[in-house]
Symmetry: C2
Subunit: 414 residues, 2 copies
């Protein structure tokens, strides 16, 4: 995983419009503070309780799990975000506060009250997110003591990113600087398992000091999520706690970014680039994963069909197992596409692994097996599937399925 | 797996209406013959080519994969079954004859011609089924030589059941005798991986000597599949080759069974009982599986919703992993039900493991953890999920997800 960590701390120039910041995180944008502590919610003695806040109130947008079973903090956030404003969020790992009924709702509300006192704001301005085991009550005594220990600071984002981890092996945090406008967008997420976001995602917190028209914020977040978090899968299981938040505090002093402008387009590109970066980091660190694979679908009847085929392929247990074993068993990719429900014409399909053509017009192509195995035996593997039916395209990312995934999810309550 | 084999050779009385026959198989009904050989299609030196036939023409029904990528034999069967008649079927394992284009269709047709000569019938009366690796051409020289070696006999069903195996570790074959009517129904199937039947199933061949109104046959088969094969999943991947055939040759001399009669109801019950028996045998022998689990959903808004929830739960990688590890992590079951798309009210959910109540009215119940682990550590595990919203109910079966599944599907092209 070292190569991945390295990737985060190198300055990468992309697109001209924005650039990744060395050691960037959620407190890279101006006016954001964060802190974390070990409160004793997790068994392992690691950070498990964090607060992220803005020094001034923010325009806020959010996307949440479509699972019918929603954790108490999700219900609380959905209610509070109806006003489109927030100042901070309190987050814990180790307990999902899901299937916990009225007591769970009361606990989530109390967490907001406790964090509001630490931030110095009203509790209605505070959002809550939890991740961990479903069906256990929040250990509120520990939370009460823990919140008091948290010190909020302008470089506290790294601690926050670590505090939200469960079976994640590395924190996922990043920030980009948008030159035009002079603002920054930061993000941190936890992933690992029960990852198959549906309209929203795992836990992910995005911050920006940009001034953004509140009416644009939710649309921009949805569009960015559709190109990133909604195109990844680790195990096909959508969580009860998926939460994606974007807080914009406007302290960068830029002209307000409004819908339909060139500035909105630049903001959208930067937000999507950041979200794709985080989504791929989550996949690389999927439970038991040894590699990431990217599936580009082209030539679908429309974009929705392309997205559906790409997600079906990256979710297939058989495709994921073959990629783990460096097995160029392309029939599994074609079979997964075929069962996606999208209209597919076998005699039109082209499939390639990197530059190696595996299938052309639906027919198997002779290929160098050893070279294909070598391409599969990389940290990132690339397939392109062209249905040759239309102009819809999409990209999705998945990870391999390994004995490690089974071990993590069979022998411990996670 | 010994307990399972034992189960097949014991005479079990069920329902009064029908009984399982000791060592029953597809040639248990009168007038059916079968045989198999090792033709060299599979690498392992095991039987890999078989013929099943009736001594007289049959009324025939079939259900097939809904995967958009259909193997050549599936296309051939769908075309030939439009007339509702067949005399036999030739089956091979080791090569799926899928994604093989016009040559694949020509090969499937030639297999029917070769088998027709062996049976002594017209090739249009012969169906074809294949299972194995996708995207490889049929080794027709070996098939031609192999068919000539096959000896058809009245006790050849056991060889046929072995010849259709791929990564299956035990053959799946069974027969039931229906006392009223004096007829028999037999069946044989292969399962193991890429098992998530959709309208049809893997490869399964059912025979009966009952006289059945051809118009009833397809309806009865669909209804039986909906209660059995369409309620199981091993890995969520629907095959390109799913084929379920039912041949009825009428040699038992019973009164013809017509739709809407008491006899049709008895036939349906026996057919469903047999199909459920085979479906469970397939799940027990799922790739890498160590146990079967049964999920009964009650109180759903309607039957379709109950079926959907039950199938979603048995397909969840996280539920399957927890069951492998004997982990009473019931939150994963509730989360899977919640993401099924069916309307669910958290505060109404009851969930139990055998007789142990885990959740009541959406709230976690205190339970004896050691006893729950003991119940999970069995060859068959039973969950009941009551949504308390209506009267829809359904039962689905799944197997655990183990390191063995990953090994089988990562290191070999299967």
């Amino acid at each position: 995983m070292l190569w991945h960590v390295r990737c985060d701390i190198v300055l990468v120039i992309m697109n001209g419009g924005f650039e990744f910041i060395s050691s960037g995180t959620v407190t890279s944008p101006k006016g954001f503070i964060a802190g974390a502590t070990y409160a004793g919610i997790k068994k392992q003695k690691n950070l498990d309780l964090a607060i992220l806040a803005s020094e001034v109130p923010c325009a806020a947008a959010g996307l949440f799990t479509r699972n019918r079973i929603k954790a108490a903090p999700v219900v609380l956030c959905q209610h509070r975000l109806s006003g489109g404003k927030a100042t901070g969020v309190v987050i814990n790992s180790g307990c999902a506060n899901a299937c916990t009924g009225e007591q769970g709702m009361a606990d989530a509300e109390e967490m907001a009250v406790l964090a509001a006192a630490a931030i110095g704001t009203y509790s209605e301005q505070v959002l809550v997110a939890s991740t961990g085991v479903i069906g256990q009550m929040m250990p509120m005594e520990r939370v009460r003591a823990g919140v008091k220990q948290i010190k909020l600071s302008r470089d506290g984002g790294h601690d926050m990113a670590r505090a939200i981890m469960t079976t994640d092996t590395v924190p996922k945090e990043v920030a980009v600087k948008v030159k035009e406008g002079g603002y920054t967008i930061g993000g941190a997420a936890k992933g690992a398992g029960m990852i198959h976001p549906d309209l929203a995602t795992f836990l992910c917190f995005l911050t920006t000091d940009a001034r953004v028209d509140p009416s644009l914020l939710q649309t921009a977040l949805k569009q960015a999520a559709d190109a990133s978090f909604n195109m990844v899968s680790i195990d096909g299981d959508t969580s009860t706690n998926d939460t994606l938040l974007l807080l914009a505090n406007g302290t960068a002093g830029n002209e307000v970014i409004s819908s339909g402008t060139a500035q909105a387009e630049i903001f959208q590109q930067a937000l999507e680039g950041l979200c794709i970066h985080i989504a791929k980091a989550v996949i690389r660190d999927g439970e038991g994963a040894t590699k990431l694979f990217e599936v580009t679908v082209q030539g679908a009847p429309d974009r929705a069909a392309a997205r559906h085929v790409a997600r079906t392929v990256v979710s297939s247990a058989l495709v994921k197992s073959a990629i783990y074993g460096n097995d160029p068993n392309w029939g599994r990719i074609v079979a997964a596409a075929g069962r996606s429900g999208v209209e597919i014409v076998e005699s039109k399909i082209d499939l390639s692994l990197d530059t190696i053509s595996l299938v052309k017009a639906g027919r198997p192509q002779p290929f160098d097996h050893d070279e294909a195995v070598r391409r599969l035996n990389q940290a990132e593997v690339f397939f392109t599937l062209n249905l040759n039916l239309g102009s819809g395209s999409a990209v999705a990312w998945g990870c391999d399925l390994t004995e490690g995934y089974v071990r993590i999810n069979s022998h411990y309550t996670t």
